[in-house]
């Protein structure tokens, strides 16, 4: 045994002691964690292999002599032995060529990174998770989801309390306010509330079946109060004469004819979210980027506000 081997063994031992101390000294030690254990095993292997390899080659440099048949060519007096290509190197070389062809033809084109591709995968994964987790929720959970969507998307205009912030947007705690009803009667409406074009005429197209005349200013005021009051109080007979033929006696609307003006419902809210609307307060943009379940949830939340 010469000095080189001895030095190698001492150095290995020192490195292992150092590894032991640094692991033991770190917070919690190995902590039974598989990753920590693997890291330490790797460190130990690295120390041993490095020392072994270095010692081997230093030893070879000390003792090796050149041998073999010299090639004829000489480049500035630097010659070359005619040794066969080492088998390990040859295998690596051929392997690299094969891998290179695969990577050029299939590897890169098929697996290349694309930011949009990652986005599409993310979106698909998210939608699948959403579908699995929320597709069938109902009741309180649906209302809770609706509230969270409302707080994210709707509160900037309708306010935290859904009161419309002093008339800056519709007050959603009631189905309709008197000024809205009045505006619609006077100006008509075409807001795709049924999902299709179904315009309501303005006051020049609204006859009171009881009197046989066009609706009057006084009647407009009375019936606006009646609708805004939740279909209660004075004005029931005007409503029956003017509005009920389309909106129904109870104001809950008729399919393909007129929307529900007594209460909020899913179809109504979904159509407003899909198409936006324009009225006495101003315009509401469409929020069709919400998914179907989210729209249903918002409907449930808004319906719950006025149901209390």
């Amino acid at each position: 045994m010469n000095k080189l081997y001895l030095g190698g063994i001492i150095f290995t031992a020192l490195m292992l002691v150092f590894t032991y101390i640094s692991v033991g000294g770190s917070k919690g030690g190995l902590n039974g964690d598989i990753v920590n254990m693997l890291a330490v095993a790797g460190a130990v292997a690295l120390v041993i292999i490095t020392v072994f390899v270095v010692v081997k080659y230093v030893r070879q440099m000390q003792t090796d002599t050149a041998e073999g048949e010299l090639a004829d060519e000489s480049w500035d007096n630097i010659g070359e032995y005619k040794n066969p290509v080492p088998m390990g190197w040859a295998i690596m070389f051929l392997g690299t060529m094969i891998w290179g062809m695969w990577y050029f033809i299939a590897g890169y084109p098929v697996n290349a990174y694309s930011q949009i591709g990652e986005y599409n995968e993310d979106t698909a994964a998210h939608n699948a998770k959403f579908e699995a987790q929320y597709a069938s929720i109902t009741g309180d959970k649906l209302v809770a989801m609706g509230e969270s969507v409302f707080l994210a998307e709707c509160k900037v205009c309708h306010g935290l309390a859904a009161d419309g912030i002093d008339g800056k947007a519709a007050n959603l705690n009631v189905r309709l306010e008197a000024n809205t009803v009045k505006y619609v009667i006077e100006n008509g409406s075409n807001n795709m509330l049924l999902g299709t074009e179904m315009p309501m005429p303005d006051r020049n197209g609204l006859f009171n079946a009881n009197t046989g005349e066009l609706i009057t200013d006084a009647e407009i005021d009375t019936v606006s109060q009646y609708v805004a009051n939740g279909m209660q109080g004075e004005g029931a007979e005007i409503f029956a004469g003017v509005c009920a033929s389309c909106h129904g006696m109870d104001g809950k609307g008729m399919e393909y004819v007129a929307p529900n003006i007594a209460t909020f419902d899913t179809a109504l809210v979904t159509n407003v979210l899909n198409h936006g609307k324009k009225g006495v307060i101003g315009a509401m943009p469409a929020f069709d980027r919400l998914n179907a379940k989210q729209k249903e949830a918002v409907s449930a939340y808004i319906t719950s506000l006025s149901a209390q």
Partner: protein, 230 residues
């Protein structure tokens, strides 16, 4: 020749540069040219919108608001489709911004309205509780600079071939023609025409009166610009 190059390292380096630069050119330039072409649905700014853009720049809105939606689910949920490079074809300079103290505005026209902007610019905290955005009350009295906007229109139409007075394709298959006046007076008239449409949806009586009297407050131009961001 290769032997000669090997003996002359300087010219060898020049040769290497030429080869790599040429490869780079044919790889990068066609893609770049394709991506920077306006996408379908992107129209040039009208005179009033351009004046609003100048108001936006003048008040450094881009210091707090970005105009670039990244392709992450969390962003597209909030702001809409991620931004495409061709959508900035008529932005000179682009206003991507580098920090979001406030929200992104690249598609704000899709989900905010004229009257909302009016309320918000007057008193942000009244609309968005806890907002730290300052009020921009002077925009309701300052007058928008239509002449400069028209000068920019003339310049970009002449030097960058921005298609004013020409039909550009829209997403629904129709075409849209953004008009540019033939004279300063005509440009002002066109801007006022659009300003009247905006003012009709606004509540502030002073602004309405100003527009009716033929003047255009900055807020009207800014809202026109905001509404054009889709």
């Amino acid at each position: 020749m290769f032997h000669w190059l090997e003996k002359n390292p300087f010219f060898f380096a020049v040769g290497v540069f030429v080869v790599i630069a040429f490869a780079g050119l044919i790889e990068i330039v066609p893609n770049f040219a394709q991506a920077s072409r306006p996408v379908i649905g992107t129209a040039p700014y009208s005179t009033l919108e351009l004046a609003g853009r100048h108001v936006y720049i003048k008040n450094s809105c881009n210091a707090c608001h970005s105009q670039l939606i990244r392709p992450f689910k969390s962003e597209t949920d909030r702001y809409g489709h991620y931004s495409l490079s061709g959508e900035y074809a008529y932005d000179r300079p682009f206003l991507w911004g580098s920090k979001r103290t406030g929200p992104d505005l690249h598609r704000v026209g899709n989900y905010r309205t004229t009257d909302w902007h009016e309320n918000h610019m007057k008193d942000p905290a009244a609309v968005v509780p806890g907002s730290i955005m300052p009020a921009y009350k002077w925009m309701f009295t300052n007058k928008a600079d239509i002449n400069t906007a028209y000068a920019e229109q003339l310049t970009v139409a002449q030097y960058f071939s921005v298609p004013y007075n020409k039909p550009v394709p829209m997403k629904d298959g129709s075409t849209k023609t953004v008009k540019m006046g033939a004279s300063v007076a005509e440009a002002n008239a066109l801007a006022l025409e659009q300003a009247k449409e905006i003012a009709a949806d606004m509540k502030d009586q002073d602004v309405k009166d100003a527009v009716a009297a033929g003047e255009i407050p900055e807020i009207v131009a800014l809202i026109a610009y905001m509404n054009s961001l889709k």
